[in-house]
Subunit: 312 residues, 2 copies
Amino acid sequence: MTATASSPEGVTPSGEDQAEFDFSSYLAKTRELVEQSLDAALGPERPESLRESMRYSLLAGGKRLRPILCLAACELVGGDASLAMPTAVALEMIHTMSLIHDDLPAMDNDDLRRGRPTNHKVYGDAMAILAGDALLSRAFEMVAVRSEGVPPERLLKVVAELSLVSGAPGLVGGQVVDLESEGREVDLETLEYIHLHKTAALLRACVVTGALIGGADASQVDAMRTYANGIGLAFQIVDDILDVTASSDVLGKTAGKDLIADKTTYPKLLGLEPSRARALELVAQAKAVLEPWKDKAQPLLALADYVASRDR
Amino acid sequence: MTATASSPEGVTPSGEDQAEFDFSSYLAKTRELVEQSLDAALGPERPESLRESMRYSLLAGGKRLRPILCLAACELVGGDASLAMPTAVALEMIHTMSLIHDDLPAMDNDDLRRGRPTNHKVYGDAMAILAGDALLSRAFEMVAVRSEGVPPERLLKVVAELSLVSGAPGLVGGQVVDLESEGREVDLETLEYIHLHKTAALLRACVVTGALIGGADASQVDAMRTYANGIGLAFQIVDDILDVTASSDVLGKTAGKDLIADKTTYPKLLGLEPSRARALELVAQAKAVLEPWKDKAQPLLALADYVASRDR
């Protein structure tokens, strides 16, 4: 059983939209550009062992949803997506860094990630910690050193977003509460706190920074925040659902992990079907924000559906 | 036996300079300002456990040499030091972050730092990793979000410096080579590579970012780099000497650690007295760069001597 059943009519793009906009081709094309940029981003790292460890996790595949959201948001507000690519790469670096650190034995102690042994299983704990640290620093370097053609005041706002999302107000804060919640009864409020910080915050940073680089005004940035809050929580609910319904083979990471670790999840708290309903409701709310953009919003509309209907 | 014997005449400021410039009062006053700013910098961190862990290490005392160098460099080129304070705090956050991570059992496995149990001994490995991560992100936040009154293009250059020094081209790269060198015969070139990356690079970032915020031109920034390269290596040589000659009680960290871990050090490679001579030579070279600034260079001249003559 997979989660593809969770895409009823009215949530997937209508037939008309699909005729105008080929999402799977958009996704494949953009993902290919992102892969190329990720590959090119890690060049001169020394020593070689550190570079290998960084590349191992950064180039491990994955949906590349975060960089794609960033590029799509930049284009939505009329920007040139290529100007947002260094930031898109930075966001994937931050995401990868948080995965490497979260997987460590001292934290979630995960052996499998994206279908391969986790970074510390291959390179050891010390190198995994340092590769994560280096990827975080490198993310800021991408924005501050490697984003030619973007005005400094926009880049500084991007740095601000990245600094907030990667630290205590974002990923780190969420991970701390997550670790402290293990084995405890957790209410919906705490669960949403964890996911807003661990998942939604980074997805929000993706569309906000993309929009900032594209020259968005304050109200456009606000719309991006609202959009991202919806898909961010939906993303995590689907993640929890997949953890229950999909196999490790499909996921490329250890399935059922949340149950084993006695973590609170949406299916456990709300039940499986109500969790699906809540994900779809959140996606619908996110899409509603994009109405003023009409056809230009097609990539972000389709990405919202993609978040709710993905099966891995 | 302490290393205070390593301050012969001609290296300490002359009698005349000392009459005009009271270094110990300058140091005490500036350090107090830095302590206040560090204390104020960590306010809204959540959850409380994370905030405690971050504060524990950030406010553990220490010489605060790095922030003071930053403020002094800003003033040297005619800037208002208060504008550089958020960056000075950021540099101490990056320094603290690297200490927390380097002390972890997976790396140097140190129990004692600045006279107190290391972060992971108090808060556990997971929290120590996350507190380090959060301090690094917070450093960038200090510059990008909390540096009012400084032009964005200067702040972006500061972000660039911090991203390079904290990552593979700086602290992380140095730590990787350091870890890989343990138990091996290491030549002087490798030893200097480690120290240039682990120590000198951050001291350089201190004076360079301070100068950038103060509005330095390219040649002034270059002079700061040369100054910092000299005191950076001298600093590490003195560190190695103290590791041999001082007690754990004085150092506030485990003395003799380098010998126990079979690390290559300057005293081991060059001998104790030749190491002292090399430190003094490097400090003299650093000071020579400051000549054009005459009296305005007094704080940085005295700081260079301080690096060579400190006993902890």
